[in-house]
């Protein structure tokens, strides 16, 4: 299955999946992690991803969809290169999460589940992310930013813009501008994202 010609994943991810399946007493246990890792690389769970995952696990596509649609981190449409997830649950709400969320909306000009026109950012209001004592907190892809105020927002966005190589005036047009190919095949921009994801520790 790791045969490059047969998979839509990068060789590294395909090899990881080969190992993942053997890790558990039953291969089906690999399903949820596999979907998440596939999404990390491809950007979302396209039909093609679902079909390949179904084949790798040895279950029907219907079963994969039954499971995938249950988990809220899994998505079926592309998100921005940087998916900004603002927790507004109680602890964060009490310390100003909605103000932070509103500031993100203003700065990005998008609402819940929106994507910026350049495809760089998407925004989401999410449930508790386990950072209640450092509220309000957000996650950008898997990166936490905590103890925020609305004033932090422009800086955070600027950080990611420069990480993506966009000059502050936004003049440079990049590969990711095209967004995710509708067939879900891997574009360079997305791969870079998956690698640029390395969390801080």
């Amino acid at each position: 299955m790791s045969d490059e010609t047969m998979t839509l994943f990068s060789p590294r991810l395909a090899a990881r999946f080969d190992a993942l399946i053997l890790k558990y007493p039953l291969r089906r246990s690999a399903l949820v992690p596999m979907l998440l890792y596939a999404q990390d690389e491809v950007g979302y769970l396209s039909d093609a991803v679902i079909s390949e995952v179904a084949e790798r696990i040895g279950i029907t596509e219907l079963e994969v969809r039954n499971v995938a649609t249950y988990y809220s981190m899994l998505r079926f449409k592309p998100a921005g290169k940087y998916n900004v997830q603002v927790c507004t649950n109680i602890s964060c709400m009490l310390r100003g999460a909605y103000e932070v969320y509103e500031r993100f909306q203003e700065e990005l000009g998008i609402a819940h589940k929106g994507i910026t026109a350049d495809g760089l950012f998407s925004l989401e209001e999410v449930e508790c992310i386990g950072a209640c004592c450092w509220a309000p907190a957000i996650q950008v892809n898997y990166e936490f930013h905590d103890e925020l105020t609305p004033e932090h927002v422009p800086g955070i966005l600027a950080g990611y813009r420069s990480k993506a190589g966009v000059p502050s005036d936004g003049s440079l047009s990049l590969g990711w501008k095209a967004g995710v190919p509708s067939d879900g095949s891997l574009s360079l921009g997305w791969k870079a994202q998956a690698e640029g994801n390395a969390p801080h520790a």
Partner: protein, 781 residues
């Protein structure tokens, strides 16, 4: 498990330990409401309707998951419980569209019934309801999401019951939704079982939706006319201008041989009855050689006089008779009696779907060696040889799956190709293309062409076994297989057989003597035994079906009477062969055979008449008249009238009435046709004699029971709508001539086809086309 005693609502109940409380209560007549619980399917505990109070337990418990143990005390109805159930319904109704007035399930909806019972009528919900368009998932299945209460019955029925797994749940929480496997399409066997189990109107049938209200229908349970398993089917019938029409077929009456089951043909195929191509007037070929409508009287008189003339001039042997695989036992019996005693010919045959005569011969003298369809649902071990029951015998496949799932029965499959049922099999033996003949020797240990000894050992280790086999076995092969079973030790009583044929009454056609050499009950015409009472019974075997056409081709067949068969199409007969033969056809449609006839009589379908049919396992069931069509007559009546028109004393054919009593022959006229049948059923049910009408098939059933070996029927059960057994092994003869196995022409029907008849069902045709498209699409993927 040992019995335990426990108390429910103050009543002492006893049940095996570990029985589900809900089942134990239902058995004792204490009804506990449930949406998600469905007997035989996996437990969900999702709807929370079955809550009961158990002594010493703090929370209400779900009766659907509580297993009974000694000394427990339960309360199943109390204000607290009623309140809990009421609030569950309130919650459900909050988001429910409440479109009962236009919902198909209105009047037979479990949610409606519960709302009524627990009085959750007042709406506490102020928010706007979410509207969603209903979806068409396939020609057969529609889904109306807002009505769905998420009981998961459909998913389980499709997966656990049908082993199709085409339905799932997607999303979570209040967004949860039942989803089909093809995105917005249902790619499955189209059995419609999901519609049947849906307690509300979320899943509806393509052919029934928005047609009528349940209370406007009469519900008649009868026997399906398609395959040879013989499911009980409930027909919903509504009065229309020219009789009464069938608007729905389902499995409301779960008491039948099929329990919960009904397949696509049984459920959707009934619409052939309403086909605009139905014949409703007799046709007679005019002087220009064209078939034109005629009155019954003219057609009957014409046909009768021709038959009489040919018999009297050329002799009975020059007349051939071909019977049907779908007509009732009484009709088949009458047909052969008419052929033999009136037409004076033994040249009677039918399109044989399997070699029942060989089975009868093999089992001659042995009783209780055949398995009923019910036995297959409970037998601890089954050996299935050949065939593909999933397609050809859907109920058999259901019983096998259910038996494996619920009783851990062991299924062994020997087949030349892989079949779906192997998923349930304990072991599967792959045979070479011509491998079936070797099986008896293989099982007996004297064959070494089949290498898999583990399979044999596993089969032989079984204490008792039901061997299910089909048309792969004919003649001598049947005898060797049966012989292996009969002499297998140590407990040789332990092997039983089921022999698979096609169509609703193929077995009845053979059992009732639609054979040139055998009388009813496989009694040789050469040694007619009790049938000696037939006046003028010809003593030599007549022509087989191919021989009749051969004779016709040579100009030696004066007349041919075809009842409900289409040999021209099914056997590929050259139409020219019949040029010089006077042909009478009784049929529903102008089939390829009828088109060649000189006289065509429009016949009633199985759904428009009463009588008994015998499924391929030998289970006899009562078919009840459901619908009515102006202009047509049951084959039984047509035969009686034909005989009458030939000047025969009808009483010698149908022993009706008491001596000296004559009945009004006109009592079943026009739109009232069939009245006599219904009357007869009533008479029989009340054990009343005599049969007053010559059109009363029950009068013939009396004679069948009297003369046909093996057909001593349990009448109370038969008329109560249950299946009863007949035993072909009872044939008291040994040396029978082996019929040419070439005569067997199996139908190889699939899920949506059924011989000529199936071609006239728009619903089945649509399903077949849909399926072909799906197949093409998935192949293109």
């Amino acid at each position: 498990m040992a019995d335990v005693t426990f108390i429910v609502d103050g009543k002492k109940l006893t049940a095996p330990a570990g029985t589900l409380l809900i089942d134990a209560c239902r058995k004792a007549g204490i009804e506990i409401p449930a949406f998600c619980y469905y007997p035989g399917l996996s437990l969900q505990a999702a709807c929370r309707m079955c809550v009961v109070r158990q002594e010493k337990v703090p929370k209400l418990q779900t009766a659907c998951t509580t297993t009974v143990a000694e000394g427990q005390v339960f309360i199943t109805e109390s204000p607290e419980i009623a309140q809990a159930r009421k609030s569950t319904i309130e919650l459900l109704l909050g988001n429910h569209p409440l479109d009962c007035p236009v919902c198909d399930a209105g009047g037979e909806c479990e949610l409606q019934d519960m709302t009524f019972k627990y009085g959750a009528g007042e709406s506490l919900y102020a928010e706007a309801k979410e509207h969603r368009e209903e979806q068409q998932w396939s020609p057969a299945v529609y889904f109306d999401r807002p009505r769905c209460i998420l009981c998961y019955r459909c998913i389980r029925m499709c997966g656990e019951g049908m082993d199709v797994w085409a339905l799932g749940v997607q999303n979570r929480g209040v967004s949860s939704v039942i989803a089909p496997n093809g995105g917005d399409q249902l790619d499955c066997e189209q059995c419609g079982m999901c519609i049947d189990v849906c307690p509300v109107g979320a899943l509806t049938s393509g052919s029934y939706r928005y047609k009528t209200r349940p209370w406007e229908m009469n519900h008649v349970s009868t026997v399906c006319t398609f395959c040879a398993d013989g499911c009980k089917v409930t027909l919903g019938v509504r009065q229309v201008n020219d009789g009464s029409e069938i608007v729905r077929a389902d499995n409301r009456d779960k008491s039948g041989i099929n329990g919960d089951f009904l397949c696509a043909k049984g459920r959707f195929g009934f619409d052939f009855v309403e086909s605009p191509e139905r014949l409703t007037k007799p046709l007679v070929r005019n002087s220009q050689g064209k078939l034109e409508p005629a009155t019954w009287e003219h057609a009957l008189r014409f046909a009768a006089s021709k038959l009489k003339e040919i018999r009297d001039s050329k002799g009975g042997a020059s007349i051939g008779v071909i019977g049907s695989n779908r007509t009732t036992n009484e009709e088949n019996y009458l047909l052969q009696k008419f052929a033999r005693t009136v037409l004076q010919t033994n040249s009677i045959d039918h399109v044989r779907s399997t070699d029942y005569a060989a089975l009868a011969r093999a089992l001659a003298g042995h009783n209780c060696k055949t398995a009923s369809l019910r036995d297959i649902a409970t037998a601890p071990a089954i050996l299935l040889i050949g065939g593909n029951p999933t397609e050809e015998h859907p109920l058999l496949a259901w019983n096998l799956r259910t038996n494996v799932r619920l009783n851990r029965a062991r299924l062994y499959i020997a087949n030349t190709k892989p079949i779906k049922l192997e998923r349930q099999a304990k072991a599967a033996l792959r045979l070479p293309a011509d491998g079936y003949q070797a099986i008896p020797a293989y099982l007996g240990g004297s064959d070494d062409t089949i290498k898999d000894t583990a399979f044999r050992e596993a089969v032989l280790a079984e204490e008792s076994l039901v061997v299910v086999f089909g048309q792969e076995y004919r003649g001598q092969a049947v005898e060797s297989l049966v012989a292996w079973g009969l002499k297998r030790g140590p407990n040789s009583g332990s092997v039983r057989f089921a022999f698979l044929g096609d169509h609703a009454n193929s077995r009845g056609a053979a059992d009732m003597g639609l054979l040139p050499d055998l009388l009813p009950g496989y009694v040789p015409v050469t040694a007619p035994g009790a049938f000696q009472e037939y006046p003028g019974l010809p003593a030599t075997p007549g022509k087989t079906l191919p021989e009749m056409f051969e004779a016709a081709g040579k100009g030696e067949l004066g007349a041919l009477l075809v009842v409900g068969a289409n040999p021209v199409a099914s056997l590929g007969v050259d139409p020219a062969a019949l040029k010089n033969t006077f042909v009478i056809v009784q049929d529903l449609f102008l089939t390829e055979t009828a088109a060649l006839a000189d006289v065509v009589f429009p016949a009633a379908s199985l759904y428009e008449k009463s009588g008994t049919v015998t499924n391929t396992y030998g289970d006899v069931q009562l078919a009840k008249k459901a619908a009515d069509r102006a202009g047509v007559k049951p084959d039984f009546e047509i035969l009686v009238r034909l005989a009458g028109a030939m000047g025969v004393d009808v009483k010698t054919l149908v022993p009706f009435g008491k001596d000296g009593v004559t009945a009004d022959l006109g009592q079943s006229r026009g739109a009232q046709a069939g009245e006599a049948d219904r009357h007869a059923v009533w008479l029989a049910a009340n054990n009343l004699e005599p049969r007053l009408s010559p059109f009363d098939p029950l009068a013939v059933l009396d004679e069948i029971e009297r003369l046909v070996p093996g057909y001593t029927l349990d009448r109370i059960n038969l008329f109560g709508g249950n299946d009863v057994r007949t035993e072909p092994g009872f044939v008291p003869i040994t040396a029978l001539k082996e019929a040419a196995s070439a005569l067997v022409a199996p139908a190889h029907d699939g899920l949506f086809t059924s011989g000529t008849l199936g071609r006239y069902s728009p619903a089945l045709k649509e399903l077949e086309q849909h399926q072909a498209r799906e197949l093409a699409e998935s192949a293109a993927d």
